[in-house]
């Protein structure tokens, strides 16, 4: 190596350029001046909507994005206001958030944890997003929640149903409005008992990843507590498309109920395969064979078509609810997009409004002030009845819907019907419940990013 070309002037020039380069990111980060990441300094504030825009959940991501755009419109005083008119908190005035016009950027999670983290990181670091919202998978939610915790921004989760999101993986900067696997099981068990009796033998097919495990653990515990026996639990790879070899042995296992702990494409395919094997017309142990799908979504039900008819499951929210909040949101969404919203759209819309409301009530965008405003917040008018954002784990507690595939649908959106609205008291649990990480699970410290 030779240093023959090194001159004093060159050294100074190089040093200045390198120093400026190193200092630039620090200069661009507002936290250097305000004490928290991406503090808005102009007349606008930027929210980051991180949803699956490609990949198998793209349709669900598109519906989330529709709802998020609608929420931004309503926050900025455009449109009919939607749930702002029914929300019990009146802090939001339709003039943005703290007087700043709301704008947004979007990222594509691709339903992959690494891609979701990369897109969230880009929105935080390049676009200055102060809050990240959205997603259709628990793996993605846990990954992005961790990133937001490190970056010092608030994460308002979208569709994530694993117990772990607000259980062992809970974070001080992360909040979940959507219900979870434990709540699904707690709501479903009494309905299943009434519909199918106490003496049942259940065979579980479970998607072999985080959400599937917690869903199976929850529904097995709830059904066993009411007298059902779990005959078998078979883990199925997430990449499976043909479930026939997993379903074929069910009829000879002595089980009279098949529980499909599957979501998305897995659910559509496994349910379709089960119907092809004619399980619902069989009799086992002197009883009619039944199928249960613990987690439903409208888009997946549409994918399964007539196969969902008569099959019981649960949902976080449904557009058929007749409370004023649900009607207002369904009307706004329906008039803008010509279709009723899905429950993933609903949770993203509500989360965006809840974040904005918390900022208004806190009087600051500082994520720790926002978190404090959300913790223990009780509200109504958002579609699920009186709701609590519990401070200990950042999980919303509200009524849960038990659904059934509609026997005679009148149109393409009329696939599911509400069987029961399970009151929130029935789905409550302690913050240190063993399925949620036990006493070891903690939120940690809020990180403002400074």
């Amino acid at each position: 190596m030779s240093f023959n070309n090194l001159t004093r002037r060159g050294l100074i020039q190089t040093g200045v350029v390198a120093g400026a380069g190193l200092a630039l990111p620090t200069y661009l980060r507002a936290d250097a001046h305000t004490g928290f990441t991406n503090a808005p300094t102009g007349s606008t504030v930027t929210l980051g909507f991180n949803v699956p825009q490609t990949g198998p959940y793209a349709e669900e991501g598109l519906d989330e994005l529709r709802a998020q755009e609608l929420a931004v419109e309503h926050l900025n005083g455009e449109g009919d206001g939607g749930m702002l008119n029914t929300f019990s908190s009146k802090a939001l005035q339709g003039n943005g958030i703290l007087g700043k016009k709301v704008q947004y950027v979007t990222g594509d999670t691709q339903t992959k944890s690494d891609a979701a983290r990369a897109s969230a990181k880009a929105m935080i670091e390049k676009d200055g997003a102060i809050m990240i919202n959205g997603g259709s998978s628990s793996g993605v939610a846990v990954a992005v929640q961790g990133l937001c915790q490190e970056a010092g921004v608030i994460f308002m989760a979208g569709l994530t149903h694993s117990n772990d999101t607000t259980g062992k993986d809970r974070k001080a900067n992360g909040f979940r409005h959507f219900f979870n696997a434990y709540m699904s099981a707690a709501a479903l068990a009494p309905v299943l008992k009434n519909a199918y009796g106490e003496d049942r033998r259940a065979y579980h097919l479970t998607a072999d990843y985080n959400w599937g495990w917690t869903q199976q653990e929850s529904i097995a515990a709830a059904t066993e507590a009411m007298g059902w026996e779990t005959v078998n639990n078979v883990l199925t790879p997430l990449a499976s498309t043909d479930f026939s070899s997993y379903i074929a042995p069910v009829l000879n296992s002595g089980a009279d109920v098949l529980v499909l702990n599957h979501y998305g494409g897995n659910m559509v395919n496994s349910l379709t395969n089960a119907i092809q094997f004619d399980l619902l017309s069989k009799q086992v142990n002197g009883k009619d064979f039944q199928i249960v799908v613990p987690l439903y979504s409208e888009l997946m039900a549409a994918g399964a078509g007539s196969n969902v008819q008569g099959v019981i499951g649960s949902m976080n929210w449904n557009w058929q609810l007749q409370d004023e909040g649900s009607k207002a949101f369904t009307r706004s969404f329906g008039e803008k997009y010509g279709r009723p919203p899905s429950n993933s759209a609903h949770t993203c819309y509500v989360q965006t409004l809840l974040y904005a409301d918390a900022v208004e009530r806190a009087g600051s965008f500082n994520p720790c002030a926002v978190a404090e405003a959300l913790e223990g917040f009780e509200f109504d008018g958002m579609g699920n009845g009186p709701t609590l954002y519990r401070g200990e784990d950042h999980q919303c507690f509200k009524d849960v819907l038990v659904m059934k595939g509609k026997e005679n649908p009148t149109n393409q959106y009329d696939t599911l019907e509400i069987v029961e609205v399970t009151p929130v008291e029935q789905v409550m649990y302690a913050p240190d419940h063993p399925m949620f990480g036990g006493a070891d699970a903690t939120l940690g410290e809020c990180n403002p990013g400074a």
Partner: protein, 342 residues
């Protein structure tokens, strides 16, 4: 024993799909020497031919209900398919019910045209390029095709049911006088029969027609056939179209088994390539044999009893078998000497 029989039956329809796709792949490789990674996309397009026919047959006009309301409280729009106007409610409903078998009529010309266009428009420019280039360009083409399908049909699976006459399952256990239920869906039986028919037709075409004889001669020695004044390239182009049609027909009839989605071709592609390699590159009987063999073994490996001994074996069985066969028979089960060995 009953469980093994059950999984054997189960493996037949999986094997049918593998065999049909692998057959098309082998036809293309054997004739044109092209490694076609877009072949799974052709299977997917075939499945979407079913969706398209279903949508065409359910094209409807709307009337406003006087009594029922939609989700916004407006009068409900009741859709009546045109075919029910033209042929009456019952006949119209039957035509819609049979949309998947009817889709075969659409799929054959569509897949032939797609095959010709693919071969003439893109793939012929890569004949003399390394296999790595062929894989890259056809893989890229597969992604383009699936994104086009996603643009028009969305990302969600689209339910495409089989005719109501084939709903339910047949109990082989009762047929064999066994106490246990060995249920096998009727449509999967149809799929197996259909696959056997297509495979038989392709072999008969190659074996018993002059065109097939020339193609086989071309596969064995392209240069000599060309020197005889035969336009072998044109025949190979036609074979590409036929291979596309075979993949497409496999997709058409597969649509009721798993609701079509834009990604379904990729799910089959890698496995089908393994099938081709295990069967022997360029060997049509090898592709069919390996397709059924691996389909059945994959089903048997997913038995709880097997997984209790070897956890996760259902996910790797095909690759384990491929490794064993390639170690013991490097050219695959029925591979010919000299193929991909230069």
């Amino acid at each position: 024993m009953d469980a093994i029989l059950l999984q054997f039956l189960n493996g037949l329809d999986k094997g049918s799909a593998y065999a049909l796709i692998a057959l098309g792949l082998t036809l293309i490789f054997g004739t044109l020497g092209v490694v076609n990674f877009a072949h799974g996309a052709l299977f997917m397009i075939g499945a979407f031919c079913s969706v398209t026919v279903q949508r065409l047959l359910t094209l409807s006009h709307e009337t406003l209900s006087e009594t029922e309301k939609d989700f916004l409280g407006n009068p409900l729009k009741i859709k009546t398919p045109y075919v029910q106007d033209w042929f009456g409610p019952e006949v119209g409903a039957s035509i819609i019910d049979w949309s998947v078998p009817l889709a075969i009529l659409l799929a054959i010309p569509v897949m032939l045209i797609i095959g010709f266009v693919m071969e003439r428009g893109l793939i012929k420019h890569f004949y003399k390029r390394p296999h790595a280039d062929q894989i890259l360009v056809t893989f890229g083409l597969a992604i383009v095709l699936q994104e086009i399908v996603k643009y028009f049909y969305g990302a969600n699976p689209i339910p495409t049911p089989a005719p109501a006459a084939f709903a339910g399952s047949f109990d082989f256990g009762a047929l064999l006088g066994l106490d246990t239920v060995i249920a096998y869906p009727y449509w999967r039986l149809v799929y197996f029969g259909f696959s056997a028919l297509i495979i038989g037709a392709v072999f008969a075409f190659l074996q018993f027609t002059t065109f097939g004889m020339v193609v086989r001669a071309g596969m064995a020695d392209r240069e000599t056939v060309g020197l005889l004044g035969i336009d072998i390239d044109r025949r190979f182009t036609i074979m590409f179209g036929i291979a596309a049609a075979v993949a497409g027909l496999a997709g058409v009839m597969y649509a009721p088994i798993n609701s079509p989605n834009y990604h379904m071709g990729m799910d089959f592609l890698v496995l089908s390539f393994v099938v081709v390699v295990v069967g022997g590159m360029g060997s049509l009987p090898g592709a069919v044999l390996a397709g059924f063999m691996l389909g059945i073994l994959e089903s048997i490996a997913s038995m709880n009893e097997v997984k209790a001994i070897l956890p996760g074996i259902d996910q790797i069985i095909i690759y384990v078998i491929a490794i064993i066969i390639l170690l013991t028979r490097p050219r695959g089960l029925l591979g010919r000497k000299g193929v991909m060995e230069e």
